[in-house]
Amino acid sequence: MKTEMLGIEIENLHLAFGPTRVLTGVNLSIKPGEFFAFLGPSGSGKSTLLRSIAGFGPRPSGAIRIGGRDVLDLPPWKRNVGMVFQSYALWPHLSVQENVAFGLRERKLPGAEITRRVEEALDLVGLSHLAARMPNQLSGGQQQRIALARTVVIEPQVLLLDEPLSNLDASLRVQMRRELLALQRKLGLTTIFVTHDQEEANSTSDRMAVLDKGVIQQIGRPQELYDHPANLFVARFLGTANVLEGRVEKRGEALRFVTGSGDALPLPMAAKAGPSSIVLRPQNITISPLCGPDTIIGQVLHSEFLGSQIRYIVQAAGSDLVIDKSHHMSEPTLPTGAEVALQVNMDSAVLLNA
């Protein structure tokens, strides 16, 4: 299967359902061949944005260009954009073969070519032996693959995946997302993947956009977003984050962050003085029973044994901090109520200007 790699440009896209604003000023550029994820909680507008690219739902204002051509005024059936639905949407009255052949028949291709391409597509997802089955005779994972085959067989310009893994059980989900990525790399298709699961987005996508309330919060590589969240929403949505409120103060040459409760932390990075907040990941705070220099004193409120690590909730610096400590047999769990010393790895901290 050959595919021409095309990029997608979205410019100043706005969409409202009556008085409710669903998408506000979306600007996005997806490179040819990229595996791109839209990540966000439900109601964030990620699915609406995907459906706008496919041509479903009300017409937004702005521009969506695929390979340089504005598609906003094309109906869905003229866009040649392949979409895999969350529910798979396999037609129950048609066999697997007929389902996959549907798009090719609509394009009025010669019968022999249809047969050949359907076989190729089914081979690609490894299910050519199920061609004669009806969709209700397939397992969830098989239906997922058939839905994928039905979409890629028409050689779409781009591939859109709407929460494709959400109807699968946990173990299958991990396997399917690897298969999905392998297939995407093989076909070189520009792909957009909608999900609310950060792990899914992190493990598959080249880049992703985090959405909240119809607004893109940040765009970048998964690791970039985790390490350098642009705002509190992104920090909290990607993994667990401890947020300390306070202000940056200058003392001679040295910068330090002073929390509301008066604890001071040295700042290794450049910063402007003034009110600010700081984001700390649970693994970047060390917890120990002993006091040392530059430590904050706290009290253990609660501990959870998670297997490879122990998660402590510690009251310190005016808030409840989540702290992960790797578990070793030789170290006993700190009891609830114990006084502990916290050492913060400020090199991994993220400073957000309030």
Partner: protein, 583 residues
């Protein structure tokens, strides 16, 4: 209703002192089940089997034979009737589809102001017994009716809407198309939006998309509706009779029994064919639809995406809808005009208007109306009592053979009114009613029982649906607090089912009030006649038409009010139940 008799203390009851084998202990529910089974066997299964049996008996020798069927197919009139019945039923399905399909498609697919109008007006045909509309339709669409008079005057040609079989097809399809509309709309609404979007995404649109994806997915609903229409039309006696079309199966059965006599085997042969065809079409539809439960709505996408109509499309849609609605409402309008007309003949509209028909109807039909209220009342009451009892026994007890009650009661669906009537005449002619000195078959009570049996399947469904909404836990809660089975049923189950039972009662009453097929076979004197038969008698003479139409209006009002009332009860019940769960 199943009820325990109060249990005697310390085993001192009569039953306890007698040997167990003499007096098998039956629970209240089992006893009720047994009585119902005996009733159904006596008034449904036995008469129908009797009809089937007679069809296979040589009237002279009394031996088993296929000769009657050979005679049937050797007679050209019967062959013609058979073909006509089949043709009329099939064509009625086609015409009903042509009416229902655009209505269902437009209302489910587009944001269309007329949707609510269609959804309510679309059901209006069902509130008029088809034979009532038949005469009015002749006046509007007949050779010298309104439409053809105007066509002849302005365009110089006429269309034989009502000639012979065409008339039956037109009347039946206008009356029964709501069955297709209701079922088809429901399955269209049940299609997951992504089913359609996936097809659009792959390049499909418009009518092609409808033909290849949407309609096939709605097929189960369509087939269910179409089969109902086919069977109803195939079995109907009233409409062809009133249109004076006698070369069809049901009228032939009626005419053979009433003119040749109760011993003539042809009426029985026709009955067997009617029943066989009803069962055959149900079975065929079952085979076609097996494994095709396409209810595809999943979380997220509820129903097809509705879209706005463009200006031109709006004109076409409103045009089509108004045309169809005018057609559908024409029998009602015709009947209303006829009921107020002095003379209406060879004219587009009546010559003059008067109240006289209503006065004449009132003077001549009080007995008809009173009889109708009595028969339909008994039938509906019996239906909900039987329905509630059967529903409870089938769904909430473990009595052996309980399913049989359900099957027997539902089997009445496949028995046309004519067949039940013939079966009663044959089976109960020889049984004398004590103190009355007349055969059971001629006693008015038998008409009420026939109506009860005919409406029972529908009432049973209503009761089962009502019982389904009463959670077993509510029953168990009452029992754990010390209520006996019978008290639980009386104090908890039945009160909670009231809405559904009441709706079942009203619907049974309204439809039984205008049933003609079985009634016409069983009416033995004019004094015992119900309203439907009265209309039939009035319509036999041109001078009686006005009063007949007035009586027809009464019938429409009874059924209309009944349907409306049932709807209100169901709605109120629903509200009550949902508000109950919110708190």
């Amino acid at each position: 209703m199943p009820q325990d008799t109060p249990r005697p203390a310390d085993g001192t009851g009569l039953a306890d002192r007698l040997p167990a084998f003499l007096f098998p202990r039956l629970s209240g529910a089992a006893l009720a089940g047994l009585l119902i089974a005996i009733f159904l066997l006596g008034f449904l299964i036995f008469p129908v089997l009797q009809v089937v049996y007679v069809a296979f008996i040589d009237p002279r020798s009394g031996g088993l034979t296929l000769q009657n069927f050979a005679d049937f197919f050797a007679t050209s009139l019967f062959r013609e009737s058979f073909v006509n019945s089949f043709y009329v039923s099939a064509m009625s399905v086609v015409v009903a589809t042509i009416i229902a399909l655009p209505l269902a498609y437009i209302t489910t697919r587009f944001n269309f102001g007329g949707s609510a109008l269609i959804q309510s007006l679309g059901f209006i045909p069902l509130i008029m017994p088809p034979f009532v509309g038949a005469v009015a339709m002749s006046l509007i669409f007949g050779r010298n009716g309104t439409v053809n008079l105007m066509l002849r005057e302005h365009l110089g040609f006429t269309i034989p809407f009502m000639e012979g079989l065409n008339g039956v097809i037109l009347v039946q399809s206008i009356h029964y198309f709501p069955f297709i509309l209701i079922n088809l709309s429901a399955s269209l609404r049940n299609i997951d939006r992504s089913m359609e979007e996936a097809a659009q995404n792959l390049g499909s649109s418009g009518l092609r998309l409808f033909r290849k994806i949407v309609f096939p997915l709605a097929m189960p609903g369509y087939i269910a509706g179409a089969v109902l229409v086919f069977i109803k039309v195939f079995d109907d006696l009233g409409t062809p009779l009133l249109l004076n079309v006698n070369n069809m199966l049901a009228p032939q059965a009626y005419l053979r029994i009433t003119s040749v006599g109760i011993s003539d085997p042809m009426g029985y042969v026709i009955s067997v064919i009617l029943v066989a065809f009803s069962i055959l079409s149900l079975w065929a539809s079952f085979l076609v639809m097996r494994g095709k439960d396409y209810a595809t709505v999943q979380k997220g996408g509820g129903g097809l995406a509705k879209r706005d109509l463009s200006g031109r499309e709006k004109v076409i849609a409103y045009g089509a809808v108004l045309f169809i609605l005018a057609l559908v409402l024409s029998p009602h309008l015709g009947l209303l005009l006829l009921s107020f007309s002095t003379i209406w003949s060879f004219a587009p509209l009546p010559d003059g208007y008067t109240w006289a028909n209503y006065i004449r109807m009132w003077e001549g039909s009080q007995d008809y109306i009173l009889n109708t209220l009595l028969y339909a009342g008994i039938a509906a009451l019996g239906d909900v009592i039987l329905g509630t009892a059967i529903a409870y026994i089938v769904m909430r007890t473990g009595i052996v053979g309980r399913k049989c009650l359900d099957y027997m009661a539902t089997a009445a669906l496949a028995v046309p009114g004519v067949v039940l009537g013939i079966g009663y005449l044959r089976s109960f002619q020889g049984i004398e009613v004590p103190f009355l000195d007349k055969p059971l078959a001629q006693w008015w009570v038998i008409i009420a029982i026939a109506l009860m049996i005919r409406r029972l399947p529908y009432a049973l469904r209503a009761c089962m649906a009502a019982l389904q909404q009463v959670s077993v836990a509510l029953e168990e809660a009452a029992e754990s607090l010390g209520a006996t089975k019978s008290r639980t049923i009386r104090r908890v189950v039945v009160p909670l089912m009231t809405g559904g039972i009441l709706a079942g009662f009203v619907t049974s009453f309204a439809t039984a009030a205008v049933e003609l097929s079985a009634t016409i076979m069983l009416v033995s004197s004019e004094a015992d006649s119900p309203l439907a038969y009265g209309i039939y008698l009035f319509m036999q003479t041109p001078s009686g038409r006005g009063a007949g139409a007035a009586l027809g209006i009464v019938a429409v009002i009874i059924v209309g009010l009944g349907t409306f009332l049932a709807q209100i009860i169901i709605e109120r019940d629903k509200k009550l139940k949902t508000s109950g769960t919110e708190h």
